[in-house]
């Protein structure tokens, strides 16, 4: 059973294929690392899976059991109900975190559960504080994004994605903004997520991080899988 099935994926940008015929599966409870040099297409794959980049060819499927499959295929980006269905399956942690600058850390985390899933504000905020506690940034709940360090901002961003409880979590260059000590913390955090049954797909060129916690590695070169 796979949580994510990518088949012959092609992503074009500026009339050029930046991802060209990539296929892979990711299972629940697996950390799959996409590695490759800059421009190899690993971030484009994440963005296509996140529904931020239109699919030019092939398909992306979430969930294996028939009726509940969510599928991305060539065509315009999903909107409305299709977008909500997609983001019930997949969340993303950006390289530069992209926290909402006008909201406190905890507000960043409970915004989507309240407005997308219609949860009660109190319950959503309790969940948000628990997630921040678990990730070790509970004390920073009332801080604004510009007051957070890189590592703190990343953990808030992870909490924000986890608050929507997606089975698949995408992480773009998760170690880029961290010092070595924090990288070890992150590896522990990610392992905890994976052991809970979540699928994590991480684009990175940090070989140490990959050796430390990835279950499987896909090596990308010029938009194609060159090894794995």
């Amino acid at each position: 059973m796979s949580a994510l099935a990518v088949r012959e994926l092609r992503v074009d940008r500026g009339g050029r294929a930046v991802v060209n015929g990539v296929s892979f599966d990711a299972r629940p409870g697996e950390l799959l690392a996409l590695m490759g040099a800059s421009g190899s297409g690993k971030t484009s794959i994440l963005r296509a899976v996140a529904g931020l980049e239109p699919v030019s060819g092939g398909s992306i499927e979430f969930g294996a059991s028939g009726a509940h499959v969510v599928r991305l295929a060539p065509g315009p980006l999903p909107r409305g109900a299709a977008l909500r269905a997609l983001h019930a399956r997949v969340g993303m942690v950006f390289q530069f975190h992209n926290l909402f600058a006008h909201l406190t850390a905890v507000h960043n985390v409970w915004l989507a559960p309240v407005h997308v899933r219609g949860e009660a504000r109190d319950a959503a905020e309790r969940t948000a504080r628990r997630l921040l506690d678990e990730l070790g940034v509970g004390a920073r709940a009332e801080a604004r994004p510009h007051e957070l360090s890189g590592g703190e901002a990343q953990r808030v961003a992870i909490a924000r994605a986890l608050a929507m409880d997606p089975p698949v979590l995408l992480m773009d260059e998760p170690t880029a903004s961290l010092d070595p000590e924090r990288r070890a913390d992150l590896a522990r955090t990610v392992r905890t997520l994976v052991s809970g049954g979540r699928t994590v797909l991480a684009a990175t060129h940090d070989a140490d991080f990959v050796r430390g916690c990835a279950d499987r590695v896909l090596q990308l070169d010029a938009g194609r899988i060159s090894g794995g």
Partner: protein, 497 residues
Amino acid sequence: MKPLLVLVVCGALAASLIAQEPGVLRFGGDAEGGAPFMEADPNDPSRVVGFEVDIAALLAAGLGRTPRFVQVGFTTLDPAAERGDFDIGLSGIEDNAGRRARLSVTVPYYEFREVLTVRSADAARYRSLADLRGRRVATLGATGAQEILERARQEHGLEPVVYEDDVHPYTDLAVGRVDAVLLDAVLAERGVRRNPALTNQPADMGAGHYVGILASGQTALRDRVDALLRDAMRDGRLQAIFTRWGMWNEDQPRLYARVLAGESGRSEGRSEDRPLRQTESPAEATLRYLPALFRAALITLALSCVSMALAVLSGTLIAVGRVYGAGPLRALLTAWVELVRGTPLLLQLFVLYFGFEAFVQLPALVAAVLGLGLNYGAYESEIYRGALQAVPPGQLEAARTLGLTQWQTLRLVRGPQAFKFALAPMTNDFVALLKDSSLVSMITVVELTKQTQILAANIGSWFLPGLVCAAMYLAMSLPLSRLARRLERRWGAGIHA
């Protein structure tokens, strides 16, 4: 260096044109008054023609000078005369005690009757001012008719509406914005000729006289002009002029007889001789006007607030349309913004109020709010558009990956941050709007600047009224300017990503 030289030469040329030249008689008037007073010559628009122009030529010939026309707005003729912008003002200027106290005034050369004009359908209903309780009655500013209407406001409870020109009172009467017009017979005849659905009532509303005005120190020239006018009354040259312009009637020989007999020519009981509080000092008059000025300041403030609300609303819609809309909508909105920003606000107000009156008769206040609000809305939209685009796109992608719809993203993420970016420039725009609201006086709204102008015309000086008016504008705008600076310090530097 060259531009500087050009500037100096132009300045010197302008100065020489303005300075008094021997051999030239500069006569001041408002060509907007139109025929028969004065208007641009249809065959040569650089020249003016009219009975006032003929009288100026007659006087210049008598003085051995060449006449030269100086354009001055009708409502500012008095201060322009006193300042020496021209030697003599001839522009259907009415004789009154206030003018005589402040300026050198010639003998009267034409007698007119005030005439009440109504729509023909109302001819039986509105025969006199007493019939017009609670109704809007139009007139031209700085005239005896305005004085009569101000008194009738107290006596009969009608509402005077003061225009800057003598054409639109009649067109607005025809379309129903006002229910009557009170103006002199010359204007009333012309108004009815141009608007066939109007009727002049025969009732006696009072009479007045046209005079020439000179600076208070110019009594010697005034006496020479008086002598020339008397000569022209005697030998029929004045009659020839008024006959040529279709204005001669039986009132004039009686006036001339009185003037030539050495009387003032000013008959008792006429509107021009009602007491005008001549003994009042400018300070006392300003003090008496203070409550009216405060009321006018409130109108300015209320007008600005409502207009700004419309500007924020329309600006937001335009900005959102330009950022999120499809191609054709974006092109349409861009064209609208460029049209509004590329043409003068005053022109837009005229078009809204007068230009569209054949299709929709907007009340003056509504036209004022629409004009100011839509004009400033175009500017606001540019601020908001920039502010929306200043929100980092990464945050919008983050919102999308959380499942927020585009509308939710705008409402919860993009809008609130853009609002903070926009707040300081918005406050600055509100201060600008507060001052630009004075332009709506041109479409009959009596706000702070217009009320000040009325006061200044009545006491014949802009000094004290100008100071009081400026103080009131400052009292409204300074706190806002300070607020804008504080907001700018707090948020203008941008939100840290």
